[in-house]
Subunit: 470 residues, 2 copies
């Protein structure tokens, strides 16, 4: 199977054509961004006279399609309802696009792996057909809409009943923030993002749930859903149910366990450091501190909503959030970053070395050796891009390193949190952020899939040697 | 061969005793630091009435033994000649200690590797005997002294002829800065370090040469010296001579090539960013800019002298220096950091993945797979320790992130450069720096040797699986 031809028409021997999915997806994203820019530049997209500038429109469209959430203008007051609908559609297209693409890639890698490990494999390559792709995309759309409708209803009810908003506006607010949540976009229709709802659990928890689900990634959602259904059909004792985790794939186990651990550690760290900061959690009671700390921990790993003022956080909190943002969420979802799985692979390698074991074993399975090098490569490239971008931003401005590093990681990991410096950056700086969002959204998945799907042929093996390490 | 018993008495079958080198070396370093602290606390070590405080003495002794060069007091005026001699001896003991220990470990790893790869290996384990250790330590001392005497003479001549210093003081200045250079300590006997000699090539170049040689590491120096001698005996055409690089070990090739590349890139980056900074390179002519940029590039990779004011550097320069400091120098020398070899292994893994090759080949040899995981482990632990320490320093002070991150990396990588915040840190912060220096000096080599020398037994192999990366 050639690396660029993972999708192939089945049973069509006379007129075989090959799609190059990475090129298609990258071009598709670029074209969607340009289309969104064209729409946002229209005079009726912007409140007040005249249209948005090209850079404002491009930045906003990139941020929406790459589900990042960084903004150079105030989404709530700068754009008309038409402009906001365009942003919503861009978010939804971007979310569908990345989930579908990453799922197809994941399927192709799984097929390739199972093919290689089966000795009795048939001679012909079983690649991913168009029927598989259609099935996956249909599944992505169905599950996304089901979750988005549920969360939208919950939020609309709260805006109507709790804040006395009219029905129409309540539904609009519900739909927009639900889509923005599940797709981990972080765009909000309030000038202070969700800071006005920091202690409202009915707003924060459904949003957090949608963010977490979207961040798990499509393969994990599908597996969890399948299991819930099967258990619904044959109800069993909860202990037996727990045993069925044994059927989970390594990917699902790592993502679920990693999400849980990162949420707990993130909540504990942010809440502890900010506990008595008068500009963030200080004025809240302890339940409020925990809710806001938990919410920020959820958002940091890629969604980018904020219920506290990011610019007022302690620089130690920002550094901790840098780490959480860089790790990100699960693969084949709307989360960004290097992904929980990449980080987990590096961590398990470390753990294996510390314990002096031979093979890297994860949840009762041996971790494929090819994955070691893929994980190192993705992590190193990410760190390299971020350090380079931060250095460039430092040369352009006099803004402090913690704010610039935070901004660069937020853009690359498509998080969208900011200490408030985005709009004030010079245009070259904003162009760097646009590139970071695009590279951060498509780079790791494109690159990792290219690595994983490539055929490698070893002609001969050289004699082994090693340098001194440490 | 048990991991903790890499040194064993040869031919002594009746009364076999085992040294545990990591424990011996860590205890030896700790005891030397405590002894140095006791000497520096004496009233006649300090100028003026009374002795230094315990923390001042402990910090200075740790900084000297770990050849770091961070200071909380001004070495030039705070300590008496007696105190300065104590510091010089601590530097020399620390330098000998780390070079000898790391060389013994390197020899043990090489023996183990050659044993494993030879099918016809004898049944008895050939471990490193005391005779080997004596030979290595003797070699380290002889080569160190030869280089130190040469550089001391050059410097003393310059101080005498160029600056009119009396003979005695010229020799003292030559010896101190020569020892401080070759051992990559970075302690200087001038309050502004070497800023007064920024454009004096006769001072800067011998110091830079000593720093580079010390930073190559003992195994590389030995190999280069052996080759020079052989070529001296049988003079050949330079083209033939270049071919004899083929006999270099992978370690020597990586260290020499890596040192060259990092020096060139570091010089280019620092000189370019600081070119017109009025507080650093701005006032110098272009030769001066190049000399000072080169000198700072040499020093950043672990020695820690400075001929420009580090506190006045652009924050982008500091970030670039962070990377250089973290990478450090060659293994089994007086350099710190994760070492060029560790970084090179990660880089070559990345390069292999980008090119889609099967094996990681470096300079015509295949890189042992065990080294991949060792390198990841060392790099991750280093980054983890530095981020943790930086977060702790951020919580303790209001100093900016770039200065604190720089300080933490400088301490961990035993570089000793500082933006000038060391003395002003609260005592808890100084304790963190002391721990960072100690861990940074002994951690990577101790940990890497424990990993590399450990016997691993795989009982059974689990089925293989992989998560999605990127
Ligand atoms: K986002
Ligand atoms: K040093």
């Amino acid at each position: 199977m050639h690396s660029r031809a993972i999708i192939r028409e089945r049973g069509n021997t006379t007129k075989r054509y090959r799609l190059h999915p990475a090129q298609v997806v990258v071009s598709g994203f670029a074209l969607t961004i340009l289309g969104g820019t064209a729409l946002l530049i229209l005079p009726n997209a912007r409140v007040g006279p005249g249209g948005a500038s090209f850079l404002e429109a491009l930045f906003t469209a990139t941020s929406a399609v790459c589900v990042t959430g960084l903004t150079v203008v105030d989404t709530a007051v700068y754009w008309t309802p038409f402009g906001q609908v365009v942003i919503l559609l861009l978010i939804q297209i971007g979310g569908f696009g990345i989930m579908s693409f990453a799922s197809v890639v994941g399927l192709a890698i799984a097929r390739k792996l199972s093919l290689r490990s089966r000795i009795t494999a048939a001679a012909e390559t079983k690649s991913v057909g168009l029927a598989d792709v259609k099935g996956l995309v249909f599944g992505v759309v169905r599950i996304s809409l089901a979750i988005e409708v549920t969360v939208a209803l919950l939020l609309a009810l709260r805006f109507m009943l709790g804040y006395g908003e009219p029905v129409g506006r309540s539904i609009w607010l519900g739909v927009f923030h639900s889509v923005s949540s599940f797709n981990n976009a972080g765009f909000a229709l309030f000038s202070d993002n969700l800071m006005g709802y920091a202690t409202d659990a009915w707003i924060c928890l459904p949003i957090a749930a949608a963010v977490i689900l979207g961040g798990l990634g499509f393969p994990v959602i599908v597996q969890l859903r399948r299991q819930l259904r099967r258990q619904g059909r044959y109800p069993r004792h909860w202990l037996q149910r727990a045993w069925s985790i044994r059927t989970w794939t390594m990917n699902t186990r790592i993502v679920v366990a990693g999400t849980f651990v990162l949420l707990v550690l993130g909540t504990a760290y942010i809440t502890a450091v900010e506990w008595s900061n008068p500009n963030t959690l200080g004025p809240l009671d302890w339940q409020g501190k925990l809710l806001a700390g938990f919410f920020q921990s959820v958002q940091t790993r890629t969604a980018g909503f904020n219920s506290v003022d990011i610019g007022q956080l302690d620089s130690a909190t920002l550094l901790g959030m840098d780490v959480l943002m860089l790790i990100g969420g699960g693969p084949a979802g709307t989360a960004g970053g290097i992904k929980i799985t990449t980080f987990a692979v590096l961590f398990f390698i470390l753990w294996t070395e510390v314990r002096g074991q031979v093979a890297v074993n994860v949840f009762g399975k041996r971790l494929s050796r090819a994955v070691h090098r893929e994980a190192i490569t993705i992590a190193l490239l990410a760190v390299g891009v971020i350090i380079g971008a931060t250095a460039a931003l430092m040369l352009m401005t006099d803004i402090s390193m913690d704010a610039l590093l935070f901004e660069a990681i937020s853009a690359f990991a498509t998080v969208g949190l900011s200490t408030g410096i985005t709009a004030g950056l010079p245009w070259e700086g904003q162009v760097i952020l646009i590139l970071l969002m695009f590279i951060g959204r498509l780079g790791p998945i494109t690159f990792a899939s290219a690595i994983a799907l490539r055929e490698r042929h070893a002609t001969y093996e050289l004699p082994k040697e090693r340098p001194i390490i440490g």
